[in-house]
């Protein structure tokens, strides 16, 4: 018999404990909600959509949370779900999480990403612009718009290209920071440094990139990496901490050999 996911109109009861905070300045608190008749085939965010419909009708302020593409690529959704970044499924974002991953009646705690560098704007929405500033510090090749050599003029070995793609798959969601017991942004920063260190296009400014991006990461107030590898476990794109090791190499090489003007002084200016 054919298995069909659409006909299983199975429902469940969901108990939620959600962080509510009116503004960055206000103190937050947890509030509890119960929802009956939640379809197990609903996505987690669709369940929250329903909760918000209900709150709106009850004259209460809906829970603010972020999401956009709802297919795991834009990096907008976040949420610490019962202590795990993006919930219990490895290699998936919150928007790819379905209610069938939870037990009926289970209490689900939902919190925002917690880090000094990611202040809470409201409820579950955090400000992740610190990542943009790290990117600004050097997460690019210097290529300008205009004529360039033919794309096949430079051959790139497939294995390097594939490894660069592994690193480039980062969606900038911040789960690495959220899951890290130290709130370190090493995985995010290293993914970009590694991508461009592996590809020849990134070589001309690789020293400047490593020095400036690390300096910016530190300046944002992220924690230090303690090599716990929880970031990799939580990363929806399974980005490896090998990238962090490569960042360490890149940074050390740059710190020893780079011209001073390429270095930290420049980033602080």
């Amino acid at each position: 018999m054919q298995t069909t996911h659409v006909t299983t109109a199975k429902t469940m009861i969901v108990r939620l404990k959600i962080w509510r905070q009116d503004s960055p300045k206000d103190a937050g608190r947890f509030e509890e909600y119960t929802m009956d008749n939640v379809l197990i085939d609903m996505s987690f965010l669709e369940m929250l959509d329903e909760l918000n419909e209900k709150l709106l009708k009850e004259g209460k302020r809906p829970v603010e949370f972020e999401s956009d593409c709802r297919e795991g690529i834009c990096g907008t959704c976040s949420l610490m779900i019962s202590g795990q970044a993006h919930g219990p499924i490895r290699g998936a974002t919150t928007c790819q999480l379905y209610m069938r991953s939870f037990k009926s009646g289970e209490l689900i705690t939902i919190e925002p990403w917690r880090a000094r560098a990611f202040p809470v704007l409201r409820d579950l929405v955090t400000d992740r612009r610190a990542f943009d500033r790290i990117q600004m510090a050097g997460g690019y090749t210097g290529a300008k718009t205009g004529p360039h050599a033919d794309a096949n003029a430079m051959l790139v070995p497939k294995d390097l290209s594939d490894r660069a793609m592994d690193a480039a798959a980062c969606i900038g969601c911040g789960a690495c920071v959220a899951a890290c017991p130290n709130a370190s942004a090493s995985l995010f920063t290293s993914a970009k440094i590694t991508q461009l260190a592996l590809l020849p296009q990134g070589h001309p400014d690789r020293k400047r990139r490593a020095l400036r991006m690390v300096a910016q990461m530190d300046k944002e107030g992220f924690g230090s990496c303690s090599n716990l590898q929880e970031c990799e476990a939580a990363c929806p794109k399974r980005i490896s901490i090998q990238n962090i090791a490569i960042m360490k190499q890149e940074y050390l090489k740059a710190a020893i050999s780079a011209d001073y003007r390429e270095g930290l002084g420049d980033a602080d200016a």
């Binding site: 659409v6 006909t7 329903e50 809906p62 709802r70 690529i73 090749t141 497939k158 969606i171 296009q201």
Partner: protein
């Protein structure tokens, strides 16, 4: 306000038109570039690449996006690839062939000169992206790899696993961030555009609302580019992102920008079927899957209940391969979608809802092995598995068409300028290059062509042409800004005031609008249905104006955003229906039941070989139609055949 539609296509042979434009254009000297401010709204492929490129030229750029970061625009979700006439596989591709395929794929409803320029730029885009470190797929030789997409018989699609859009967007984003670091681009994240400001007949600024604080702001500039994407969310359920919306283009339309071909909506054939009323959006399965997946339904209705693997080969109907032997499963999207709908209408649709067809990989797995299939499509298969809890390596996927892309958008001339002087539109936000149907892997190409290789020239030309006027700066204290800001504030205040006594949530009305547009303005349209749609939309508009519930909170408030955007969708839905009603031919994504021949769409070149550009006449009023006649000097419109 009335306007004249001047396409502004340069004289001369097709292949030399863009060169001629560049040769004749006005320039701006480097010292003067510093005096100009360009506003770019949107940071997707078109907006991000335009903002970065213009900043590199020396202009001061203000870049606006609704997200926290410029990296999150929905271009990021494009999976399959980007076309370019590089002809690396030596399979007979050329700029001409890409141009021809695109014009034909668009069912002869696009402007020749624009499409040719797009094909010309395609090769530079690949060079540009590679130089940015975009990790395109490569062969063991170290050269770039290609694959095929619908509507083409050559392999010209470049890709980065199933995340091509992401990688191209991150390329543009990184280039943009480089300019932010240099101070040439100022970023305005969390900003939603709510109006454009016209001063002395030229667009000189915008009004925005900062989403995270609710602050309404004025921003002045010398020229404004809108790269705010398409309007597929009018259908509620689509593959578009939750935040994708039509507000920016609609507000520009209200100010006088003509809206081009609103009824050209692309319904993508390979999406995961709808599974309940709770769904907020649909998920696309990349078209690249049709390279190796075979689409079929059972021949006999009594086989519907059987497990697909138990249905013998001779009882399966590979309907695309049967009807279109030369293109097979790689027919263009509109054709594939319509055929899927037809077999479901015949009662041969699979799955519980009966609204799905199989996309089967068993032949590919048998031929190449599971590991090869996994390498090509692994992430898509995983995605399918997560959503449906079914394993596509073991049993075929079930797919059904869903709204994906809008070919229509703000009408623009050859320089991408709308009918509002000083307001340009790029990417999906404009109507320019895809006619009535877009080919797969062409959206990324168009967005980047507009942003990297067209706007840097045409914006310079505009600023150079109007230098005397534009060098006189407009302050945000100008009455035009004051009036526009007041209008925005009043609208928000009215929504909130009405919201206190309303009963229905914005989402409820929105969902209902989605059902109306999907049922009556979807894959098959007819005179009666379209008229019903217009009536139903009017009722929903009434509901929206008088009975919508909203919480009194002007800060970060998603419900308020939804309500605002819904107001624009309602008006736009009406315009889509009006456009679809007037165009009694079938072409591309627009299928009129009344206009078909032997079960295939029938175009009417005699009466409809034009682009429709609609002029806004007020809420609830019929818009006025203007026509830009399409001239085909280089290709002869013929019946599209993929047989």
């Amino acid at each position: 306000m009335s306007f004249e539609l001047k396409s502004g296509v340069p004289e001369g042979p097709l292949a030399q038109k863009w060169d001629k434009y560049k040769a004749d254009m006005k320039l701006v000297n480097p010292a003067n570039k510093r005096k100009y401010t360009v506003i770019v709204v949107g940071t997707g492929l078109a907006g991000g690449s335009a903002a970065a490129s213009l900043a590199e030229l020396g202009y001061n750029v203000k870049s606006f996006c609704i997200h926290d970061s410029a990296r999150r625009a929905h271009s990021i979700a494009a999976q399959g690839g980007i076309n370019a006439a590089k002809a690396y596989p030596n399979d007979g591709d050329s700029v001409w062939r890409l141009f021809y395929d695109t014009i034909k794929g668009g069912d002869y409803r696009s402007r020749e000169a624009n499409v040719y320029r797009l094909a010309q730029n395609s090769t530079s885009i690949i060079d540009q992206c590679v130089s940015q470190g975009v990790p395109f797929a490569r062969e063991y030789s170290g050269e770039l790899a290609n694959r095929s997409f619908g509507g083409a018989q050559v392999s010209r699609t470049f890709y980065a696993r199933g995340q091509t859009g992401q990688q191209l967007l991150l390329g543009a984003y990184s280039q943009l961030m480089k300019e932010v670091d240099k101070g040439k681009v100022q970023l305005f994240p969390y900003h939603e555009l709510l109006d454009v400001v016209m001063v002395d007949g030229k667009c000189r600024g915008i009004i925005t609302r900062e989403i995270n604080t609710g602050k309404v702001e004025r921003h002045a500039a010398d020229v404004v580019i809108m790269a705010t994407g398409g309007y597929g969310r009018v259908y509620y359920l689509s593959t578009n992102a939750m935040n994708a919306n039509a507000t920016a283009i609609w507000r520009a339309h209200r100010r006088g920008a003509a809206f081009g071909n609103p009824c050209y909506v692309q319904i993508h054939p390979t999406c995961i079927p709808v599974s309940g009323t709770h769904q907020a959006k649909l998920t696309l399965m990349s078209e690249s899957l049709r390279n190796d997946g075979r689409v079929w339904v059972p021949k006999k209705k009594e086989d519907l209940a059987k497990a697909p693997s138990t249905i013998p080969e001779e009882d399966r109907d590979y309907f695309l391969e049967r009807k279109y032997p030369s293109f097979g499963n790689l027919v263009p999207r509109d054709v594939a979608s319509r055929n899927a709908k037809d077999v479901c209408d015949e009662g041969r649709g699979v799955g519980a809802s009966g609204r799905a067809v199989y996309l089967d990989f068993s032949a590919a797995i048998k031929r190449d092995g599971e590991s090869v299939v996994r390498e090509k499509y692994g992430n898509l298969f995983d995605m399918y598995h997560e959503i449906t809890a079914e394993n596509p390596y073991k049993s075929p996927m079930r797919i059904y068409p869903a709204v994906h892309y809008t070919m229509g958008g703000l009408w623009v001339d050859y320089s991408l300028q709308t009918t509002l002087p000083g307001l340009f539109a790029a990417g999906e936000a404009n109507f320019s290059d895809h006619g009535a149907n877009r080919l797969g892997a062409s959206a990324l190409m168009q967005g980047l062509s507009d942003g990297y290789f067209i706007l840097p020239y045409t914006i310079t030309n505009y600023l150079g042409t109007h230098a005397t006027e534009l060098l006189k700066k407009v302050e945000t204290s100008h009455p035009a800004f004051e009036q526009a800001e007041k209008q925005v504030r009043d609208e928000i205040a009215r929504l909130i005031a009405n919201g206190k006594k309303g009963k229905r949530t914005p989402n409820e009305i929105f969902k209902e609008l989605g059902l109306v547009t999907w049922d009556y303005v979807g894959m098959a349209r007819d005179d009666k249905g379209l008229k019903i749609a217009i009536e139903k939309i009017a009722k929903l508009q009434h509901e929206y104006d008088n009975n919508m519930l909203l919480n009194d909170d002007q800060h970060l408030n998603t419900a308020l955003q939804t309500a605002q955007r819904l107001g624009d969708y309602l008006e736009l839905a009406r315009l889509i229906a009006q456009d679809a009603l007037h165009r009694t031919e079938s072409c591309g994504g627009h299928f009129r039941v009344e206009s078909q021949q032997d079960g295939e769409a029938k175009r009417d070149d005699e009466h409809f070989a034009y682009a429709a550009a609609w002029e806004y006449k007020g809420k609830g009023q019929d818009a006025i139609l203007h026509k830009e006649q399409l001239v085909f000097e280089n290709v002869k419109p013929s019946t599209r055949s993929y047989k």
